[in-house]
């Protein structure tokens, strides 16, 4: 019974870790995509300005 309890505690901890990791990774990807989009947009706006000039 003690073994089962500890095993469940371990599995719970692993699941919590997995959940936190997944959340972190998804958030990282979102932020990276957003930042790249912003950088590319900025670069294009600068280009448009230079072209007009």
């Amino acid at each position: 019974k003690g073994l089962e309890e500890i095993r469940h505690q371990y599995l719970r901890a692993v699941n919590k870790i997995r959940g936190d990791m997944m959340h972190y990774i998804q958030e990282s990807k979102k932020r990276a995509a957003e930042m790249i989009r912003a950088e590319v947009l900025k670069e294009r706006q600068q280009t448009a300005r230079k072209m007009r000039k």
């Binding site: 972190y24 990282s28 932020r31």
Partner: protein
């Protein structure tokens, strides 16, 4: 980009703290179980 990486550093620190919390919980809970039995 530098801002992004700084923010990522902060986020990864927070994540690490959360992971450590889970590990501490496992430590405490399992110790209690061992004492119980």
């Amino acid at each position: 980009a530098v801002r992004y990486l700084e923010e990522e550093d902060k986020r990864s620190q927070k994540l690490l703290q959360r992971l450590d919390t889970h590990i501490e919980e496992l430590k405490t809970e399992s110790e209690r179980t061992v004492d119980k039995y």
